[in-house]
């Protein structure tokens, strides 16, 4: 379990708190979606979860290991995998499959095991067939998938994904959401940072950050009932969500979390 207890964080002293008074638990086998406007502290939270940043006050523990203890760092890094916002920031090799193999190689795994993990990771993100492509010739969305594959190959217990779908088309987004769900099924705990409210439909809980503080934490159904507050949090419901709300107002039994054509049409 990741346990965040009364955490404050600021980048410089003196300075304002980018995260303030945050308390949060993240369990294995759950998807926590994190929403919030630009500058609300989402990416900072991500970096606190595997010890890249350390809290100014409070504690972050991964399976009981404090991120502030230097001796815990390597264990924590193998427990919490991180996919950064811009894939260009974390692609290291000159060939796709070598990029995915970079992590497992550094863990000192056997070549056979590395091969298995690389193939499985590329398959999971739909990049099979592009093993020998040069990463800089991939599209933005393919690079995002490659970045995810590189972390999957490390088989971390927890994954922190910082806007993994920002450059993907709707099918690509659905694929990545499918990967995330599958990982949850395998027992991984997932923190999914996103700007797309549609993405929360598969989440178990939603955390909304505003100026570094948790202004909401609860199941997606409860989150969507806060529709009057969404705008003040810098969030907007997509057209399909607003259609669902209008139909619901007129007595059609559309579920509150309906964000897909299927859920709406089956309620008609």
């Amino acid at each position: 379990m990741i346990r965040v207890t009364e955490v404050d964080f600021r980048y410089s002293v003196p300075g304002r708190n980018v995260i303030s008074g945050l308390t949060l638990n993240i369990h294995r086998g759950e998807i926590l979606a994190v929403l919030g406007a630009n500058g609300s502290g989402k990416s900072t939270l991500a970096l606190l979860l595997n010890g890249i940043l350390r809290p100014t006050a409070g504690r972050v523990e991964i399976d009981g290991l404090l991120t502030t203890e230097a001796a815990n760092v390597s264990r924590i890094r193998s427990l919490v995998g991180m996919v950064l916002q811009s894939p260009d920031d974390q692609i290291v090799a000159t060939v796709v499959e070598e990029d995915v193999a970079f992590g497992p190689e550094n863990l000192g795994l056997e070549p056979d095991e590395i091969r298995v993990r690389v193939d499985a990771a590329l398959n999971a993100v739909g990049l099979t067939g592009l093993e020998r492509r040069e990463p800089h010739l991939l599209s933005g969305g393919q690079k995002q998938r490659l970045a995810i594959a590189g972390i999957l190959a490390l088989q971390p217990a927890f994954l922190v994904l910082d806007e993994p779908t920002s450059m993907l088309d709707p099918s690509g987004r659905r694929d990545v959401l499918g990967i995330v769900e599958e990982l949850r099924g395998q027992g991984h705990g997932i923190v999914h940072i996103t700007h797309h409210i549609e993405d929360i439909a598969t989440a178990d809980r939603v955390l909304v950050l505003a100026e570094g503080a948790a202004v909401f934490c609860g199941p997606p159904v409860e989150f969507l009932q806060q529709n009057r507050l969404l705008e003040s949090w810098g969030l907007a419901v997509p057209a399909v969500g607003s259609l669902a709300a209008r139909l619901r107002d007129r007595g059609v039994p559309v579920p509150v979390t309906a964000m897909t054509a299927e859920t709406i049409v089956s309620a008609l």
Binding site: A37, G39, E163, M167, A236, P238, A239, M259, I264
Partner: protein, 285 residues
């Protein structure tokens, strides 16, 4: 002033084992006052198309013409007035202050310090960042949405006649996306815009032309209205229309006649409810 692509094609790493064709037979025409969307799944050639038009990649087949005259590298062509905004353009901010950063382009074009500063202030104004407040700040101490707008201002200060934008709203929150959209809508009054984006639902309503690519080929080129009437090209390209359109398609396939498709949730709700009660009346004895 028109920018025209005729049967343009591009192949990466030609003659090596990495060779693959990223674009083939692409023809489009851009004019100031237009906003053209480039849609398609990831890897369909959107970014390559922008780079080819800008002249960062040289087309292997076909030609690019400005006012009927063939140009090899439009971005470098004197007076072509072509601007390119990459993915995550805020990564390219570099100066000490926002004003210096935005004035860098005009300075390089040969404007005097005063004129460059005037153009920069005007550009900052147009992206909603008052220059007296934001001008002296560091470009590295801004939120993601603000930094994106500073990067946009840096291009707008050069007064482009054509502007190519790669995912201008990616990774921005709802407020930031709406801001960038309305800035682009204003800019498109005097400038020809080509926007590669995945925010289809949000851009379809303000575009004048849409191009859908699949594996480097054009599968649709027409007006947004035509695409809303018949969203089939999205599927042909291996992607999907915005969920609100897909909902209407699915309703229709289930015998709920929604009539003409729309992007507006209010309109769609009214039509769906009307069609639903009509079909119920029809089936009840």
């Amino acid at each position: 002033m028109t920018l025209q692509l005729k049967e343009v094609g591009f192949t990466y790493s030609r003659g090596t084992s990495f060779e693959y064709e990223a674009l083939g037979g692409v023809s489009i025409c851009l004019e100031p006052g237009d906003m053209t969307l480039v849609l398609g799944p990831t890897g369909s050639g959107k970014s390559t198309l922008l780079r080819v038009i800008a002249g960062l990649l040289r087309p292997i087949d076909g030609s690019i013409e400005m006012d009927g005259i063939r140009v090899d590298a439009p971005l470098l062509e004197q007076g072509s007035g072509l601007g390119l905004v990459f993915q995550n353009p805020e990564y390219q901010l570099f100066a000490e202050t926002v004003l210096q950063d935005v004035a860098f382009g005009p300075m390089n074009m040969g404007y005097s310090r005063e004129d460059a500063s005037r153009l920069a202030r005007h550009a900052l104004e147009s992206v909603g960042l008052p220059p007296d407040d934001f001008g002296p700040r560091s470009p590295f101490a801004m939120s993601g949405g603000e930094a994106r707008r500073v990067a946009l201002a840096g291009i707008l200060a050069m007064k482009p006649r054509f502007l190519l934008l790669d995912e201008p709203t990616a990774a921005l929150d709802a407020t930031g996306r709406a801001r960038v959209r309305s800035i682009l809508q204003e800019v498109s009054a005097e400038c020809g815009l080509l926007v590669a984006t995945h925010d289809v639902e949000e851009f379809l309503g303000i575009a004048s032309q849409v191009l859908i690519l699949d594996q480097g080929r054009v599968v649709f080129c027409g007006t947004p209205e035509a695409l809303i009437r018949d969203p089939a090209p999205f599927f042909e390209a291996g992607t999907q229309p915005p969920e609100i359109l897909r909902t209407q398609l699915l309703a229709k396939a289930n015998g709920i006649d929604v009539g003409e498709f729309s992007l507006d949730p209010g309109t769609v709700a009214v039509r769906l409810l009307a069609a639903r009660s009509a079909s119920r009346r029809g089936t009840t004895p």
